[in-house]
């Protein structure tokens, strides 16, 4: 690991990170959240990040719009494809958003040593994701979507729908 990354990840006190992001973007990050100091992390004005949430943005861009909220104990890990979360979106507690995947086509090489892929994740504006959801790399959630708790989203979700299950499928179109 590069020295700069070690310093940014482990040696900057959390209250200082909270203060820096508050001054830079006008967002509210809990001092108990684990948020990296990274130029690839952009957070909109008024957005809240709750305690015990971990956000990694050293390998790829992580952008969150304005007035969004990230619940407690979430894990957001951005890779080369990036993660985008739109304005006014709400992410429930214990939600995991992972922006990368591993190739597994070679049986003689451990999966962790095979190539990483990252298509990116896009969550449009005014999306409500219930507690305990998992959003996998390649997901694209349209605007005004509601994802019910404990769902797993891996593909495209049409806008204005309510989706449920693993894999998440539309059960209703909002009107």
């Amino acid at each position: 690991m590069k020295l700069g990354k070690i310093v940014r990840r482990f040696l900057v006190p959390a209250p200082l990170t909270t203060f820096i992001y508050m001054v830079k973007y006008g967002c509210k990050i809990s001092p108990k959240a684990e948020v990296e100091l990274s130029s690839l992390l952009k957070i909109g004005k008024g957005t809240q990040v709750s305690s015990f949430t971990k956000m990694k943005a050293s390998d790829g861009p992580l952008e969150i719009g304005k007035e969004a909220s990230i619940g407690t104990c979430c894990f957001l890990s951005a890779d080369k494809g990036g993660i985008y979360i739109g304005d006014y979106s709400m992410i429930g507690s214990n939600t995991t958003i992972i922006g990368n995947n591993y190739k597994y086509d070679k049986l003689d090489i451990p999966i962790c040593q095979q190539e990483k892929t990252s298509k990116g994740i896009r969550i449009e504006e005014n999306v409500w994701i219930g507690a305990g959801c998992v959003i996998i790399d390649g997901a694209h959630i349209g605007k005004n979507v509601i994802v019910t708790p404990n769902s797993v989203v891996s593909g495209k979700v049409p806008e204005n729908t309510i989706v449920q299950g693993n894999p998440a499928k539309p059960i209703f179109t909002r009107r």
Binding site: T148, I162, Q164, I171, F172, T173, R175
Partner: protein, 75 residues
């Protein structure tokens, strides 16, 4: 038409058709929660090729009112 509605209700909520009557409601069917209510509406819309408004969806409080809403659209 009413038989089809009862068939869909029993299918969505996973209850026997004989246990579903016009007076069946969220109080008498355990699985009739807010999420399954939306699934019921989607199933009814697909079966009868109709589109219900939000106020109509909210007015469905039992099987009888569901039948009335469907009847008003299939006249």
């Amino acid at each position: 038409m009413n038989e089809t509605v009862i068939e869909i209700v029993s299918e969505v909520f996973g209850v026997d058709e004989d246990d579903v009557s016009e007076s069946s409601s969220p109080e008498t069917i355990d699985n009739w929660d807010s999420m399954n209510h939306l699934k019921l509406v989607t199933a009814i819309e697909e079966e009868f090729s109709i589109n219900l408004s939000m106020s109509e969806i909210e007015s469905i409080t039992d099987v009888k009112s569901l039948m009335e809403v469907v009847a008003s659209h299939t006249k």
